[in-house]
Symmetry: C2
Subunit: 244 residues, 2 copies
């Protein structure tokens, strides 16, 4: 087995149901697996959130088990085949997975090809080396910003192009990502809502219909469209402002 | 002397120059002081940023000294009368003031009434107990989220009301603040661009023309307009998810 990742910018696009826009990609990603373990910690109502995923994936005949259901999430993750980390607040999610001792375990099993990983929004941020390109409010304080590190670059989910008519003076998303690049020499893939990344081993493909922008220090952002081969991102050098 | 604070939601509103919208409030806040020390660490170009402030305040006959200009910012802050902490990236600013050993020093001198404090955007976030209600991207990792704590509640600057026509699925600002309240029982004053807070001792007044919303756990947000007396916020109980 090799790395098997599905990283969604977001779980829902305007006018469609939860996960509906990416259902074909989920079927392909699951590759016949019938049990999925769900990580609901980015939100507060674990059971309701798990039920939402269960309902969405029921047509696929997939059993969805919330990681919160058992008494020992670590033991569950040690045996799981597919993990889906849902969106919500990235800082809350990271605090939880750190407290539960899951960070290193998930990283090792995914990189060993033993655990397939699907994320949306905050769950996709968690596939990066750090959560430093999240859009979320830092409502709680994790012990560090270090995340699962399943890909070596950073992702910005829910990417929004600047609205030229806006009179708001707060930073645009592009400006925020440029601030990140001032401090860190690490590529940032900014995925619009409706886009996702599919990693299979050393192959990384952009999918969905909305595309992405690649931000790198010292250059203009590069646009990519559906089916772009982004495998080179797995081999680019990176330099965070401090060692991780 | 007593606490003397001017906390701007933002430094610039659409169609006006830097600090122009709040110039009368700055004159009143300065109360004849002719030297202001500027903290430029939320941005990267310290000298250019300080020059921007210098140019804006030149008509007032105020001498603006960048905290970066001297070799020992701590010694400068020990003697300063007025500090202005400018906007940019809140995480970068906090990392810098922590590294320079300024957090406790600024807190003590402001709360003792020895140092007047003006902030905009990230600088206003820093007047709160923590930076947990910033809008900024966590591009670097400060050692903690604890900030100057010059007021006991949290502020969200650059507040944006939700756009009912939006098809974007990322959280609205209101939803992000509600996530904060799920974890922390601490009032959040969300100030629209163009609004500011003026604290003089135990008196706290909302100013500017755009108003603010007060978010508290378990209640609907309460709108406040120009000249509202918010002094009660200085005495409300607060409970962060962990002790600071």
């Amino acid at each position: 087995m090799s790395h098997n990742l599905l990283l969604l910018s977001n779980s829902k696009i305007h006018g469609k149901g939860y996960l509906e826009h990416a259902m074909d990609a989920i079927v392909e990603f699951l590759d016949g697996c019938h049990v999925l373990h769900f990580v609901p910690y980015a939100q507060t109502e674990y059971e309701a959130y798990t039920q939402r995923v269960r309902t969405a994936l029921q047509p696929l005949g997939v059993e969805v088990i919330g990681l919160n259901a058992g008494s020992n999430p670590r033991e569950v993750v040690k045996e799981a085949e597919v993990l889906f980390v849902g969106g919500g607040n990235t800082f809350r999610l990271l605090r939880s997975v750190q407290q539960l001792g899951l960070v290193e375990l998930v990283r090792q099993r995914v990189l060993a090809g033993e655990l397939s990983y699907m994320g949306s929004s905050a769950g996709t941020n968690h596939a990066c080396p750090t959560i430093r390109t999240t859009n979320d409010m830092p409502i709680v304080q994790p012990v560090s910003f270090e995340a699962f590190g399943l890909v070596p670059f950073q992702i910005n989910p829910h990417y929004q192009d600047a609205d030229p008519r806006s009179t708001h003076m707060g930073e645009t998303r592009e400006e925020r990502i440029c601030q990140f690049l001032e401090e860190n020499d690490v590529p940032v893939l900014a995925m619009r809502e409706g886009a996702w990344l599919r990693r299979q081993g050393s192959k990384l493909i952009l999918q969905g219909q909305t595309g992405a922008l690649l931000f790198q220090r010292g250059t203009e952002p590069t646009p990519y469209e559906e089916e772009a081969d982004l495998s080179f991102l797995l081999n680019l050098p990176t330099q965070f402002d401090t060692s991780l």
